[in-house]
Symmetry: C3
Subunit: 432 residues, 3 copies
């Protein structure tokens, strides 16, 4: 009975049209052109590499797309247990028309051909978009993105700020900032001014959020004006050779200033907490980052208290941080739970973490899921994975154990998948 | 089949009369007088506040009880997913005679009236007590509580010691201590003497335990006499302006002395580990505390070794500490697992944490649950939540997977819900 | 249906012949001689001690085996909930011919007699070996073990190195090293040479791995030659009185050198991460160790990067570290998940941790289980516990949710239970 109930709820969840609140889609070119665009996703290259294939054999400019696909698929048997493999099977079946249940090296040509036929169609991005029930997707835009050439009501700009906070010691980053804003950064006043110009630019293009990923040891704090001035002075003078303590102080100043602008522009500030970059420098592209799970939201205490008007949709990289996230969202009005990120985006973690949130965090403060995708084709299998787990939780923990009706359960699903995204990111009912 | 088995075991667990080993009940006035006493529980005010209601609108002396209830219930739809909401529904149905399955703002007057009628009855506390299967509840008494005016065989005194350990720098706390004990605190000898007088007073009133909540960074240690004397001297001289290092040293001295008295009086020392106080200072009353899950029981190594004769019933705030708790209880004879505390008192955590303990800790060393309630009405829904989860674990992990009989499973439940509480806290068979 | 499916998969997993990749078996005397050898396992003595029996009553040279068994079994009712108790029931039923479902003190004589009869048979070790489906077991050999007197194709030598890394300040350890290798340790060159001689000796005896257990604060790093020389000089001069910083530096040098030899000899280096030794000094033999769960694999970043050619099968003591383990194994080609260790070797943790790995780590990089046993009789119940959980995961998460065939599911089980062990530890198909 539970199995059929889950299936019925899942089918109801499938009728919800989605706004995907965090992706890495390139708005001007959102979908894949060949199967290599699908299999080039770092989840596949890093797993195949981890399974034993030297990275030189599966990445690099010189590698032809077909050959890349062939090499990757030849090692897919070693990944067949992973959920990432199951995403690919679902793409192949639902979007490409593949009919097998498993994929092996022997399917390479069939899959390549199917992808060629479908992806060549000029309306392929639109086909994927429709099949994936998408109404809009949030982007991850470099701060100097001109935001031109796309429909910003469907591709929502989001100001990504890692470079501004952590790499302002690099001359190239400062130069990009000056070119994007027409401001010369010489002191904290002009830096603040330049940052404000970015917000103004993004806001004019329907930008709706600021976002950043943060290492486990980051603990935001407000600096005095003098302290910030000294830090910026040293960084401008010495660049990457500036003392670490000054670079860190500048990071704090920029981060805090971004929060101030979020307050001014009424934007949520997406915090993605816990990643260590380049832990495995021999890894494939985008497959080098890991984490230290010893992180606590207590590090954000000063921030959450200082900005009661700013909503912080928070993603945590480690599932062991999920209880803190649920508890902080239960107490702080401005803390919102946000999806299941990266290494926590696998079923066993999602099931546990989502159940915890659904039992303890007010329902209007939960954003259920985002795809984090680079290519449109991944919305469908990733959201389906989430919705199957959500259907299981709703069936077992709400309908059976708490005697909710199926309609009530589906309505809770709708709220965390859609309604909350609209309200938190300031959409009117433009996507009915 | 599993569902029916769970239900049968639950019904058997329902026949067990309870001693609730940790509450905040006021013995002289244990039950609610209006619905506002129920909905004023911090779980509701903090969730409603978190959902978006300014705290000024839901708390404060000037707020009439009915109006408070009206405002809180008007936002209950935002909490309808939470387990805390389900506790309220169960109170409304089982204790107040409400017949709906869900509660909305439209039920305000009905619920208010039902509560008025029932709570006015002079035997309301006794009615709740009986329906909740209670034989006794432990209190949380300020150290200077006179412990007068109630039946100490049903309301068991428990000496709460947070103020003594952490706030002895405050003149008011020292004054309370001197007034309660008739001792002037001038050095460690007189302080030790005063603390002993508290134990003597509590013991004379059927006191059976000492309790304290502790921040994540606390690591008890034994100080030398000289070190303690210096610390106390500074704290007496400078009060709150004493150096932190002296205040911390004094905390260690007082804590260690309490453990020595627990040994002398044969009392368990309840440790509630992991809370950071006042993290969100803008929060509602009792809704400001959170935690840093980076805590380890290794911090208590010296204590557990130094006091083999003292039983330490331990609660941990973060579920990620539960494996350490289970492991330390599996190794140390004097470490006992104690309930599911606060942010870990939601079903997904209870299910995981209780299963872990039931599989690895000797059954005579587990105290299954306490309600932590402030008003008697909460024992029923909270214990029921726990017993439903316990029934699930017993059904799936013991009856089905390990082929236990249902009687054996229920007997295990009885032991951790009742028998162990009696033995660990030194009851004879006075509550048959 | 799910229950029957689980049972069918379990029965298929039961046909797999096993290589147990980590045990403490004594090759020359692998099985038990009396029931006291079974019940003397630290899991039983420490649980009985924890349940309330002074250690003097259950251990010590003077205690007769029968009396020891009698005393331990008399307290078994307090452990009847634990999974360790269920291992004993399974041994009694499957290996000793006991017919009851539960074991109480009243069964002492029956069990003792059954054990006497069976264990006296000269082929008892072989009987246990066959019933347990074993083809080979890895040993845990002291570095100066002569490795004589047993069949190294069934009892695989494994070089255990805790003493070398952490206790080289003890004259006795250095003396053992010098006697085992014929080398006098006077500087880093001669120390390196002595370590190499150990590898050569073990390799000549079919040794296939190096292993070590590590405390939570260990973070391996490469030292300069000068730094190592200074550290070794001080340790040779002052022994245990050498400054901690020098002892720690020497530990780093020895550890790093072992990794270099693993690279040279193409051996996996088993890391067992997270144990604090002698936390409870009043505990029974082997029942004194616990842990601090605040540990991260980021501490091994330099090591994993420096030795891409060395496979590191990693065990973590705390389940909260399992997500890091799965993630590091998903990214680093040389990191392999290795069993469920000690305090994480109970069903609730195994189920969660194994599911996480099966969903995210390439299937060729997972070693499902090892028994860690001291006596042969424990392979059967421990592997059965694991295989029942594995069957549950395969049934629910692969056959039902991902529509795998039962054959595919069993094949995944076979790979992590057997095939991977063969490949990772360099077996040819000598155990068909």
């Amino acid at each position: 009975m539970s199995q059929q109930l889950r299936e019925r709820i899942f089918q109801q969840l499938q009728t919800i049209r989605l706004i995907d609140p965090h992706t890495h889609i390139v708005a001007q070119d959102p979908a894949s052109h060949t199967l290599a665009d699908i299999l080039g996703y770092h989840y596949y290259t890093e797993l195949v590499h981890s399974a034993g294939v030297p990275r030189e054999q599966i990445e690099g400019e010189a590698l032809e797309p077909y050959e890349r696909v062939r090499r990757l698929l030849s090692r897919f048997p070693d990944l067949s247990n992973t959920v990432q493999y199951s995403w690919f099977v679902e793409i192949a079946r639902e979007l490409l028309g593949f009919e097998g249940e498993q994929i092996t090296a022997g399917d390479t040509d069939t899959l390549w051909q199917l992808a060629e036929e479908r992806m060549q169609a000029p309306d392929w991005p639109q086909t994927v978009w429709q099949k994936s029930q998408l109404d809009a997707v949030f982007l991850t835009n470099a701060f100097d993105d001109p935001l031109e050439g796309f429909d910003t009501s469907r591709f929502i700009p989001c100001l990504r700020t890692d470079d501004l906070v952590f790499h302002l010691d690099q001359a190239q980053v400062r130069q990009r900032l000056e070119e994007a804003t027409g401001r010369s950064v010489q002191d904290t006043a002009s830096l603040r001014d330049a940052l404000g110009a970015l917000f103004t630019h993004f806001a004019a293009k329907n930008g709706r959020a600021c976002a950043i990923s943060l290492p486990p040891d980051f603990a935001p704090t407000r600096l005095s004006q003098n302290r910030a001035e000294t830090a910026l002075g040293d960084v401008l003078r010495y660049g990457p050779e500036a003392p670490d303590i000054q670079k860190r102080a500048l990071a704090h100043f920029v981060f805090w200033t971004l929060a101030e602008y979020c307050r001014e522009f009424h934007w949520p500030f997406d915090l993605m907490i816990g990643v260590n970059r380049r832990v495995y420098e021999g890894g494939v592209y985008q497959g080098q980052d890991l984490f230290d799970s010893r992180v606590s939201l207590i590090q954000y205490r000063e921030l959450f208290n200082a900005f009661p008007q700013v909503i912080f949709p928070i993603s945590v990289l480690a599932s062991v941080t999920n209880q803190e996230l649920a508890s902080y969202a239960w107490i702080f009005p401005n803390v919102v739970t946000h999806g299941h990120w990266w290494y926590s985006n696998t079923p066993a973690f999602i099931e546990h973490d989502a159940a915890v949130r659904l039992e303890a965090v007010p329902r209007n403060k939960q954003i259920g899921y985002y795809s984090d995708m680079y290519k449109l084709e991944f919305a469908l299998p990733k959201f389906n994975m989430y919705k199957r787990i959500l259907a299981k939780i709703l069936a077992e923990r709400f309908v059976i154990e708490r005697k909710w009706s199926e309609e009530q359960a589906v309505e809770l699903g709708r709220q965390i998948l859609r309604t909350n995204v609209e309200r938190i990111f300031g959409f009117a009912s433009e996507h009915p």
